[in-house]
């Protein structure tokens, strides 16, 4: 890992600290209130705030996890840095696609 990847990984980790905290708080709140799926969707559909919040979350997770997976691949498998990087980019894009799809499903 070079300094650029290090900064990106630490920056996305720092960004995720409040995002995870709010995400957990929302989960507790929704379950304690006994909201149904329809009631939750009624709050998230068309919400620019929730859409932005979770889109940011997905972007941070995709970058952070991909950098971590790149390190694991480079250290534990007989792969060059370049090949590990390509696999990690593919993994990050997969996470982003799945995440943004989920965000779109509850916001749009």
């Amino acid at each position: 890992m070079n300094v650029r990847l290090y900064v990106w990984q630490r920056a996305t980790a720092a960004l995720m600290v409040p995002l995870v905290a709010v995400h957990l708080a929302v989960i507790f709140y929704a379950t304690r209130q006994g909201f149904s799926a329809a009631e939750i969707l009624s709050r998230t559909r068309g919400s620019i705030a929730w859409g932005t919040y979770y889109a940011l979350f997905v972007a941070a997770v995709s970058i952070h996890a991909a950098i971590g997976v790149r390190n694991v691949l480079a250290e534990w498998l007989p792969l060059s840095e370049r090949h590990a990087g390509r696999l990690a980019v593919a993994f990050g894009l997969l996470l982003a696609a799945l995440g943004f799809r989920a965000v779109a499903a509850v916001v749009l």
Binding site: N2, V3, Y6, V7, R10
Partner: protein
Amino acid sequence: MPALPAELSVSLWRGGAQGRYETYRVPRRDSQTVLDVVTYVQRHIDPTLSYRFACRVGMCGSCAMTVNGRPRWTCRTHVAKVAGGGTLEIGPLENLPVIKDLATDMAPFFEKWRGAKGAFAPSRTRTDPMPCIRPDSPARIAADAAIECINCGVCYAACDTVRWNADYLGPAALNRTWTLVNDERDAGNAARLQAVAAAGGCHACHSHQSCQEHCPLALNPTASIAGLKRRTALAYLKGELKP
């Protein structure tokens, strides 16, 4: 501490990378060090045994070996401390090529010093006045904490990241870099930070802290590497580094 038997059972690595352990019987003595044991085998049992030592007092850093699974400086390691049940297994340091028996090739270790720009780069000539550096300045305190390294290679042999990543510069070289980064007389920090910010540099460290755990001088290379991570990240954000 339980009394040790009159004789030690000592397994020593013999041969190169594809060698094997051979067992010897060595008399137990008071205040005996692991280096004393190895020396006894060479002087009294098998003169072809190869190993490396020089000062015998913990200053030169040349006698490090793997003792009962842990890298240690053998001249300052007492048998009473490590030979539970009177048994010793002594091998060459891990993560370095074995030349023969207990002697490893330290060339990769010192090449990484070069890779980490571990040589002092003077900013003045001999005709300039000596710089005045306050002992209580933050930079001097940071350098002091890391500067007593004797290059024994124990931290390098104990490091998991060195084992996994052949390009990783390792804790000793990066610890040295940290002392120079904090040396106000040095003029080579631009190239030095660039070198340790690249792949295989300080950011490859996982902070397992094996280096700190095993360092015979109780230095903390992990803290030095953390300092380099902060310093290089800051330089990168200021646009001073091009990874």
